[in-house]
Symmetry: C2
Subunit: 599 residues, 2 copies
């Protein structure tokens, strides 16, 4: 057994002392961050299901059981890591999904005790849903009884890294302008103030960043309150340098202690109308603002950050060129050294990081590279580590999903390449994924179309053969903020947000055979106006990412002329944009990779 058995025993003793039937442990923080700072990664500590990139999951501990829910990206990894921890994996999506709230409320009666959890790390809407189902069954929820912190003896402290200003010349918009647009959006939703918990929204509005609060994302830990008279950043004072104080003063943003949100709202007038997003705000903060004062909403605020300016998109094009150059050098190295049989996943991950950081405007990677050889490529969110890293030898597929945080924008790209002699089946599957990628990349659609409506375009060729991936096809991407950003998405479940010109999403269909190999092809695309017709206004995607797709893996038998044309056009653009930035040897390598293909 791993040490987790001890943690579980300690937690269960506390549960018994407090008459708790089930203790639910959040995988996130008071800001509903996808990747929380170490201070809030207690669920990873408790379960040993963890990674540098964070792991989506919620744990439930009962008197005689322990469970960890996660989504299909992590099924293989979680099954492996949860071994000998006392925890059982539960599937939160896919054909065998079990709903956590239904499960928790169906497995106990009132006399077994309360359902305990930390209301500051679960969203208000989640808590409301839990409470509503629990009430029907007369179960008692206690959002103030966390218990985890009492057994987590090695808990790291809250991050205290200094902020810096994101050059407003690069951003193309002052914090003042963003605050004004945010307040206008707040008023359009019928409120006169807003309380924001989402760290990417706060970084976006304030044009402030930090290096290390959270790995791979330059956001910082704080809350933000805005109305026409007051602009308050709730933040630890240690994080404010004189330069940042000057920036804050310039925009009339005062600071208060991070934990003083409750006191602040006690002193506001009772007829204040505060816009709060119940999905992005913790239950505790929601109660602090005060239900009577709250207007639920925030879609119009989230939308502001989602729609990138033309200036931001032109900067991102520059970042994409830099990223393409780094990947060219990286892939040349792989091809050169693969025959020696000494390449390892972890070695490649480190080399890739260095190729990106060679560019002075690259501040960090945008996530730990997902770099999996054959079977490891089937672990959707696999990250190689010292303890676990395959040597790249023999024949097969290498999946590389990585990205950079450039001052000019955030990148995210996946390529799957063949090494040695990949099988015909691998090539056939690669081509099905590619056909889906192309169908989505080429899509044209009327104004008002949501990502959900387009999602099947990427999946159709797989479904036709009874194959499927269950993760999303596309997520929003921030501008030197989070690599995963809302509100728009291209997913199977409906996300009620229309794709608008300026929104960036990924296009990343895949296919995964547990224990054998994985395939994913990912570019970032931006929604762009196409044309106005008598039937309305139409948009299309413009692909931003610049790096060749491995044409040696294509099964030409199942490619249509239109698909071949798309690929040749794409490769022509990659070649023409990257070549001026490469030396002669690199340019010659790229030229070969971008060579036109035909039947």
């Amino acid at each position: 057994m791993k040490k987790n058995a001890q943690y579980l025993a300690a937690l269960r003793q506390l549960m018994k002392d407090h008459n708790v039937a089930a203790c639910i442990v959040s995988g996130t923080d008071p800001h509903q961050s996808e990747l929380p700072p170490a201070h809030w990664r207690g669920r990873e500590w408790l379960t040993a299901f963890e990674s540098e990139n964070g792991t989506n999951g919620t744990a439930v501990v009962t008197a005689d059981g322990a469970y960890c829910w996660t989504d299909s990206r992590y099924f293989i990894q979680a099954t492996e890591q949860l071994k000998a921890t006392g925890f059982t994996m539960m599937e939160e999506d896919g054909p065998n999904a079990v709903n956590l709230i239904e499960w928790v409320t169906s497995n106990f009666t009132t006399k077994d005790g309360e359902i305990a959890f930390n209301g500051s790390t679960f969203s208000h809407s989640w808590v409301e849903e839990l409470k509503s189902v629990a009430n029907e069954k007369n179960l008692i929820c206690n959002p103030s009884l966390s218990l985890l912190e009492d057994v987590w003896d090695t808990r790291p402290s809250r991050p205290m890294n200094p902020l810096f200003v994101h050059d407003e010349d690069i951003v193309g918009e002052t914090a003042e302008s963003k605050i004004q647009r945010t307040l206008a959006a707040v008023q359009s939703e019928g409120a006169d103030a807003t309380f924001i918990s989402a760290l990417d929204d706060i970084a976006w509005i304030t044009n402030l960043r930090t290096a290390n609060d959270i790995a791979f994302s330059p956001i910082y830990v704080a809350f933000l309150y805005l109305d026409d008279n007051q602009r308050v950043l709730f933040i630890d004072e240690e994080k404010i340098s004189p330069e940042v104080r000057e920036h804050l003063n310039k925009y009339n943003i005062q600071t208060r202690p991070y934990e003083s949100t409750g006191d602040f709202f006690k002193n506001q007038t009772s007829n204040l109308k505060v816009l709060v997003d119940p999905n992005k705000t913790s239950h505790r903060n929601y109660c602090e603002v005060g239900e009577a004062r709250i207007i639920n909403g925030g879609a119009s605020v989230a939308r502001l950050k989602g729609v990138k300016s033309e200036k931001a998109i032109s900067h991102l094009a520059t970042a994409m060129e830099k990223d393409g150059v780094a990947l060219t050098r990286f892939m040349m190295m792989i091809e050169r050294e693969y025959p020696t049989g000494t390449l390892t996943e972890i070695g490649l991950a480190r080399a890739l990081r260095q190729f990106r950081l060679d560019d002075p405007t690259c501040v960090d990677e945008s996530f730990a590279p997902i770099l999996g050889w054959n079977a490891n490529g089937a672990i959707v969110h696999y990250e190689p580590s010292e303890e676990c890293s395959l040597t790249i030898e023999g024949d097969g597929l290498l999946l590389i999903d990585s990205g950079g945080q450039y001052l000019y924008g955030t990148t995210d790209i996946t390529r799957t390449i063949g090494l040695g002699n990949p099988t015909h089946e691998m090539k056939h599957d690669f081509t099905l994924v590619l056909k889906g990628h192309i169908a989505l990349a080429k899509a044209r659609y009327p104004k008002g179309t949501r990502g959900t409506q387009l999602d099947v375009l990427a999946r159709q060729f797989l479904w036709e053969e009874g194959k499927a991936y269950y993760h999303g096809t596309g997520h929003g991407v921030g501008f030197f903020i989070n690599v995963h950003e809302g509100p728009q998405a291209i997913r199977m479940n409906d996300v009620p947000v229309a794709l608008e010109p300026g929104m960036i999403t990924s296009n990343e269909p895949g296919l995964y055979y547990e224990g054998r190999y994985g395939i994913r092809i990912e570019n970032l695309v931006v929604t762009t106006p196409w044309k106005q017709t008598e039937f309305g206004e139409f948009y299309e995607f413009k692909t931003m990412t610049l790096f060749p797709i491995d044409t040696t893996l294509i099964d030409m038998e199942i490619m249509t002329d239109d698909e071949i044309k798309w690929l040749n056009d794409y490769h022509a653009e990659v070649e023409s944009r990257l070549t001026p930035l490469l030396n002669a040897e690199e340019a010659s390598w790229l030229k070969a990779k971008c060579a036109s293909i035909s039947k």
Copy 2:
């Protein structure tokens, strides 16, 4: 001006007397019927926007304006019919959509007066939405002040047609079994009783029908209450024949007067938990049941009717053969008589009705035929009438959307045929619509897929050229009940219902050029298990409708080999299934229409 100006003047006088700023007039009845009985078609009477098939629309009358909201199927028709009535058409979907509730609540202040409407003809969820927006703006809603009935001097009475029993041998399931399954579904949603307003649900559960309460649908006007001890049908006694009384007694269903629902609930215990669907139940009935007793839901009950048994599907296959025979005879007549230049839309509509009713198991059409020549084909829900009927002459496209109510099931089919010399543009557009129809017909998809996810398959080829239709691609279809039935649908907006084996939907993409021509191709399809793979359980559609698609309208240049194969396979099945039911001349005609095509 039409007479509607007088009605408006009378209504406005009453509004003034009662201090009403806006009077909202429903287009439906206390059962939220798509096609209400004449007794509840006051909105059609008031606005003159009307048709045999019913028209979707809600009217709003103010002191100095009058408006009628409708959806894109009716834009052309409503614009025409509303001329000189004092009403202005408002678009409820598409790129220029205006939200009725937002409009009503933004155009008045408290001092202008109340917002009045008849709470018995609007769904509870709609009223709740209106009230919530109105409350924010301090506007007063009065759901008990209808006013319309006070000016509607020619209002028809409630329908009093006798019921009959739908042969339970054909249905394949007794009312007892359906009641038991319904109560199990009710309990699965946490309730111990249910109050049902939807007439198709009531007809389905009771295995009872009537001929003329509502044109084109054998459903009858009633409410149904079910719990473990009581089964109550609220219905006018005149409708109950001795045979029907025997059927009701057999299943312990008692009857009470139609209007006694309020009294009934006053006498039930207060701790009753009643499952009510707030979208299908009127605000008034909802209040009668009593909010404190209500559990909102009903999805699991609606699902029961949506999933057809194998027996029902095999019966529907028989109905499809009968329908194909009627259409064969009808289309042969068109081809024979078109050269004479004497065919008219209304004449064809009558002839088509007769061809269907020639079969003794065909009880009625399932809706008034939509039969439009060229420009009239662009009116999505056009019906020819005495006053308005084109002669079929010259070159172009004839759109025919029709269906039958057979004891063996309900049919719904659209064909667009070329007469004379259709233009290349018409053929190109027809082929784009056909490609979408085929893409959807061929779709395979994992368990859990919703219609919304597949919708784009039917639209993609149109969008690619900046063309679009804005109606749904597929609606559910009842079994000798309504031709439009929930819960599943294939639409742009998300309908959170997975397609399940046994669910029948239409597949009907189209394209409409106002003033020029319209195209639609519609078959009914049933979701069917395909196969189980390591990636989950997969389904596919099986096309049920049997009638050739006009191959003379196909632009072969843009058809793929796979699409041609689908069409040839489909035509081979049509020919083999219908030929045994036809005489030699008919069989020979069909053989030519079903001839294999190739590039």
